[in-house]
Symmetry: C2
Subunit: 200 residues, 2 copies
């Protein structure tokens, strides 16, 4: 069975994803985690803010791996991008439009209200962009072009999640995927080499 | 001076934008609006939910006009798109990364928790897409291509706001603008006519 600390982090991440930071109460967290109230302050003496920052990092950072799964391992950059957006659409439908980005709601909530939590979201986004730049670089793009494409991928996914969840439709995700694919084609055509570099 | 109802709506819109739906309390609203507490239930007998839905619509719908200001009136579709993203970046910097989309935070918060409020956000997004499709159509794109580009514009702006506010940088907005511009060039090149249609 998961440790008390792990159960608290997992419960908080689930509640943040659905209710946001402000909408998640400490009583709700310990209830869902089946943990005594005191254990929360034992593991997170800084209370909700400290727990929030750690949950943002622990829930957010692993998502960088999606760049490796969908893009770095694809034979074709454009096809890899299209598959990443299609995969995100399938997850949204399967979860009844609930599961999208683990940190976007919190990121918008805290952007202007809590600088410590904002920094935690910034760390996660920068980690994603670093992994995404690496993944896109393997297709012969310059670092600058690879970073531009990584940013395009993350921003388009995040914005498409906002619209797709609101409209309960994958149309925004589909349009966003086609948009990033067009940018990838443009960047590949102006880049030195458009062929996949051998790896490993 | 604005009517009591107007002051309540304006105060709520400002609080939603900065603190989100859950983080905005009724006492805060009447305090900022300098309105007696009872007036809130006089104008919005359904309480916070009714007020929330009306504020989402009243704050969100006017933003459709940005498609007319930046895109429908541009001589060149790609330049119009680039100017729209540059303008959004200037607003973000001027407001210390606080003012971005009037409804995105609320849209993410309520997407899975309140279907009435979710529908209000969906109405606003659909209204933007309708105006955006109209604006993009004036450049000779098919309805389908024009709608795809309108969706790309809104999703890319929304996602770029998430990252730009978190990172306190306009880099995501710049990358998103270049991405939508690439999609516009692609759609124009495959469309029947790429020249601007005369209007009026």
């Amino acid at each position: 069975m998961a440790s008390t600390r792990e159960r608290i982090v997992t419960a908080t991440a689930e509640l943040f994803r659905r209710n946001g930071y402000t909408g998640t109460g400490l009583k709700q967290i310990v209830g869902r985690a089946e943990a005594p109230f005191g254990s929360l302050y034992h593991f997170f003496p800084g209370g909700k803010k400290q727990l929030g920052a750690e949950v943002i990092r622990e829930a957010g950072l692993p998502y960088a791996a999606l760049f490796d799964i969908y893009i770095a391992s694809a034979d074709d950059l454009v096809a890899g991008i299209e598959q990443a957006f299609a995969g995100a659409g399938e997850t949204l439908v399967e979860t009844d439009y609930a599961d999208a980005c683990p940190i976007a709601t919190v990121a918008l909530e805290v952007a202007s209200t809590d600088d410590g939590l904002r920094r935690a979201t910034a760390e996660v986004f920068e980690a994603w962009l670093a992994t995404g730049t690496e993944a896109c670089s393997t297709f012969g793009l310059s670092r600058e072009a690879a970073r531009a494409l990584a940013i395009a991928t993350v921003t388009s996914l995040e914005g498409a999640f906002v619209l797709s969840r609101s409209l309960r439709s994958t149309e925004p995700l589909d349009a966003a995927g086609a948009t990033v694919a067009a940018r990838a084609r443009e960047l590949l055509s102006t880049s030195a080499g458009s062929a996949r570099h051998p790896r490993g």
